[in-house]
Symmetry: C2
Subunit: 676 residues, 2 copies
């Protein structure tokens, strides 16, 4: 760290490849810039806030000091892609006093890792204004070129968009959002505003990802592009009266993160966001278990049954759920998700109604006591479903009774849902109040030793480190959009998600669809799954999650039991992960080593283009033989014309082997490598 005369400080990453420079200019403006391998990644970008109360700008500062330090430590996640994570960074704390009459103190904490930069604002205990309201955060990300960008429209309420791939200059979020008629409720921000994680690639092959870490007690960040300068500025999600955040010193904002590498694979391996989150707040984690489940869910989506009791097609009836329990037990799954089990479904969708569900009243044809006993006898956990209808106030009023009810019925995992407009009315899925709500859910479920995954929440930011019972989230367009009638999904989608949505944490993507024409129960549907069957298998490896569903339903699995074997075998917790090859929008190949065992599993996927690739198995152990089962697209497979065409090959391999894989259009390949 060097303190220059012009009041600049700089630090570099442990490997010296990233250099961060922070400057307080004569006029008081505070900026940072980032280079990677001598290339400018972030041009000078200013920092600060506009406050609503008191109504002042916090963007002209006087430097009062800098602290630097470094950390190199290793920690073990409760579950994850790897068994231990190195946290190695140089830290620079820039301490400033703002030039308003209040002379507020503000620290900006920068951490520079080998794989990127994180920084956040700290309002220290001693700052002048104790209670304050954020009107706008003024953080800039001034990019050095017109990069190729993978983006979705900025939105206060939904992140379930299809990704757009354009140059920065071609971003048009309004136009993109307008096409998204599959999304029931949007709150789009503007033509130049996009969501994070935002993935970019420079003309000379550097990958840059912008996001945030440890989003707590603060609204989510969208970012707005100035196309004249390729500068993004943070745009926080407002509350009901247009304010962004109500804060009290001491306070630390979420980290703003910039992950950077000239290898796409290193973007996917980055643990920067996890490293910027706090360690687990839960001390006894013995009850937290990654898990694999099937569920009463996709049969509703495709019209075989429905969530409602009215209409005579109620899926979640006692007999039907027993069949799922039987099937889960027979095939070694941990749980069965049951949607539509409780009263209220007839009367909520789109109504912005506060008191819909009470989370404890089963439909009359759902014998919960009988099913509790039945599931227990079979060694299966029923996964609770708490659809909140977006009414978070109502859900919070029922927290204790709902979680007690789960305990009483031998359930320890809940899928929450936030479909519809949020109540408190005027709040958004991504505003501070709801960010606090999701945290309350994580904390309250932990009190009851319940694991949770949220659907339709704010984008994840690595909080599963701090709350390891918060296993996964949806928070993006999931596999279910294969059944959406308009834009739906596209074959490249799963090659982008790990570079965007998954940067923040695991996704409940619900792979494992084994039937592709979705008119099986409703001839009027023209929707279809946009992958091959082999790709559905590969997703269990390429889309990391400690909570994996086998999305389809038993009668479809039964048609392909040989392929289903991969889903039965694939673990949900890992000791190691090797991202073998990756290019956002094109392909991803990942190998992972099973937790506590010597078995490896490989997933390889491609976009709409067929692809051949050669995998060196040199990551395997020396002098060890593995039985490889290779689940791959058949020669004539094609997501559009012949998605079910797959072949399964078994052979013995060692680390000296090379596998030549052929992936069909929209295809993939899944491989299990069992130590012999």
């Amino acid at each position: 760290m060097t303190l220059f005369a012009q009041k600049s400080s700089s630090i570099s990453s442990p490997n010296k490849q990233i250099i961060l420079k922070v400057t307080v200019a004569e006029n008081g403006s505070l900026s940072y810039q980032v280079s990677y391998k001598n290339k400018t990644i972030i041009e000078p970008s200013t920092l600060g806030f506009a406050l609503k109360r008191p109504e002042i700008m916090l963007n002209k500062f006087q430097l009062i000091g800098v602290d630097s330090s470094s950390v190199d430590e290793t920690w073990k996640p409760v579950w994850g892609e790897v068994s231990s994570i190195r946290n190695n960074y140089k830290q620079l704390i820039v301490k400033v006093k703002d030039k308003s009459k209040f002379e507020n103190l503000l620290n900006i904490v920068f951490r520079v890792f080998d794989d990127g930069v994180g920084f956040r604002y700290e309002f220290p205990q001693e700052t002048a204004i104790k209670h304050f309201i954020i009107k706008d955060e003024l953080t800039q990300f001034n990019l050095a070129g017109n990069h190729k960008t993978f983006w979705i429209p900025g939105d206060y309420d939904t992140n379930e968009y299809l990704y757009n791939t354009t140059k920065l200059s071609e971003i048009d979020a309004l136009k993109a959002a307008k096409k998204e008629t599959d999304i029931a409720f949007q709150a789009v921000i503007g033509a130049n505003t996009v969501q994070t994680p935002l993935m970019m690639k420079t003309a000379d092959g550097v990958y840059i990802n912008i996001h945030e870490a440890a989003l707590l007690n603060y609204p989510a960040m969208n970012i707005t592009l100035d196309k004249a300068t390729f500068t993004f500025t943070s745009h926080l999600v407002p509350d009901a009266v247009g304010n962004k955040a109500y804060l009290q010193a001491p306070f630390q904002t979420p980290w703003r993160t910039i992950v950077v590498s000239d290898k796409a694979t290193e973007i996917l391996s980055s643990k920067l966001i996890l490293n910027l989150n706090e360690p687990s707040k839960i001390t006894d984690v013995s009850w937290i278990k990654p898990q694999k489940f099937i569920g009463m869910w996709w049969e509703m989506h495709v019209g075989k049954s429905n969530w409602y009791l009215e209409g005579g097609k109620h899926g979640a009836n006692t007999e039907n759920v027993k069949k799922y329990i039987d099937y889960a037990a027979k095939h070694g799954f941990d749980g069965v998700l049951v949607e539509g089990w409780n009263e209220g479904w007839e009367d909520w969708f789109g109504n912005w109604k506060e008191n819909v569900f009470d989370f404890v009243t089963p439909y009359s044809d759902y014998n919960i006591d009988e099913l509790t006993a039945y599931a227990k006898a079979k060694g299966i956990k029923i996964i609770m479903h708490h659809e909140t209808s977006g009414s978070a106030t109502n859900y919070e009023r029922h927290f204790d009774k709902a979680y007690k009810f789960m305990q009483d019925h031998n359930m320890n995992t809940v899928k929450t849902g936030y479909v519809g407009r949020i109540i408190p009315r005027g709040e958004h899925h991504d505003s501070q109040w709801m960010v606090n709500h999701y945290q309350r859910v994580a904390e309250k479920t932990a009190e009851y030793k319940i694991m949770v995954e949220a659907h339709e929440p704010v984008h994840p930011t690595g909080l599963h480190r701090t709350y390891p019972n918060w296993l996964a989230n949806e928070a993006a367009r999931g596999n279910e959009f294969n059944n959406a009638p308009n834009l739906g999904l596209v074959p490249e989608h799963e090659t982008i998600l790990p570079f965007t949505r998954l940067m923040g944490g695991p996704m409940d993507y619900t792979p494992g669809f084994f039937h592709f024409q979705l008119n099986q129960y409703d001839a009027s549907r023209s929707t279809r799954v946009k992958t091959t069957l082999a790709k559905q298998l590969a997703l269990y490896v390429t889309m990391y999650s400690p909570l994996q569903m086998a999305g389809d339903f038993p009668e479809n699995f039964d048609k392909h039991l040989d392929a289903f074997q991969f889903i039965k075998d694939v673990p949900v917790d890992w000791d190691d992960t090797k991202v073998l090859e990756a290019e956002p929008g094109d392909f991803i190949t990942i190998a992972r080593k099973q937790k506590g065992k010597e078995n490896w599993f490989i997933g390889a996927i491609t976009d709409e283009n067929a692809r051949t690739t050669t995998l060196k198995l040199d990551f395997l152990e020396e002098n060890t033989r593995y039985e490889a089962i290779i689940y791959q697209d058949a020669a004539d497979a094609d997501w559009k014309t012949k998605p079910e065409a797959y072949k399964i090959e078994k052979k013995i391999v060692t680390k000296k082997d090379i596998l030549n894989l052929s992936l069909a259009k929209g295809g993939g390949c899944a491989i299990s490598l069992m130590k012999m």
Copy 2:
């Protein structure tokens, strides 16, 4: 009831003095009008709604039928001013279909009593639109003249205004609100908008009161005056996004009430609003008890101590509370209110902060277990205080733990408080969400057999009939405003409150101040109590409540133990009530008969003018002698110069006696009549 050719229907009150006429005009507009003793009280006034979703007007109708019926029944309140109440009315249900494409069904239910009219809208189960959002209610009250009016400014968040007395044409709510610098947070609506209960008097001596009854799942009504026609139109309190109410058929709005009489005393005796509320939803009411209490409260207001632990003047410490418990036991009170007992007070006022109090964590100097045992041994109940800081969401999250905590500590009454801006942010004290919140509090406390009184809530509307555990509310400028530095209180205030605020239900006015210069503990204060001491006593009779505080603190009571005897004697529950004389803004004299006993108590108060009056005791029982103790202003008493001057006279009286009373300026007289 007669159905005219021009589609008009009319009904009259049981005594025929009030006639209501409802007309559906050729153009579809629906209106009602009211006459009393052949005088027009309400000129033709239209009815209807503007909806936000679907975006249509519901104000042009086709008449599809009328139903008429009558009821004459008597019911017994759990507690009250009288032991039984007659509910005697003629009912007219006007059934219409709206002329929008939806052809919504709507019923308007009118009930005509001898003391006024109530009507409400019903959206029947069969109506076309099941879920709808109210943009505006279009109910009119078209008055027949430029009446004398007792009003406070329309406001979404506070009803703690001083009353203004002007002609309708002279209402200027903005100007009045601007003077109200004693109120920390206002949300004034407009120059011509005022709150209900609104009290009026016509030039020829008819008293008219407009309010609402049974305000449930709907925002409070303010009313906006068109000065050209003296027509008020309802103005509902909006939510965070500007909508008024989210409803689902079947739904009934609150009743709109018009109480009318040419005798002011009959306005005060009216049970119309209670009669329009539903019977008790609580079946076992054995645990609900009217009560009288003292409390640790006024000593904070006058600066003897404070709510905060910081600063060394914390009132609610163990020793101090024991002294109150001792005093309550010695003088026969039921309870001791303790404010400032729990952590959080240092850090909330004005901060719009969500998570302040947890309602279960005492300050370190408050030994709750010791005090629980101490109070129990003395036969005293500690009254819980739940200041919510306006953060209703936070309170709701703590409901169960907070009420369980009360049970565990032998408490069964809670005073709630809503000081500050409401959270959910953008909601108001009087918006639909908060109306539902107060109901949730009433229902949740009932589950725990807890009685409740709310401070800073929406205006009461007779819901204490339905929720008899909801004993009282503040919801107006209380006795505490004697300590407010600016407008504060005025001597006429208590002669107006029974005609306005108390029409909706009991008020926790906290009478019983025995010291008048409020600079006892803080010489910088110039505030003073604006009554005589005798008037403070009389308020226990004139301001009906089943929950009465003796507002001052022990050392001040001890200076006037002879006068304090009246507070000790006066009951809080009654078998009968006679309003002997009354004129809003001038004077009130009321006699009440103790519940289950033959004793009577009389309160007489005046405004800033001295007053002599003659009371006939002919309401007393035949052939019975009573020991009368007359607590009255001394000859030289004056609220401004000699408020403590009182004299106490004892004599034997019978129903043949006449008492000549002299009330000082700002004075009063209290009389106990104990059967001998």
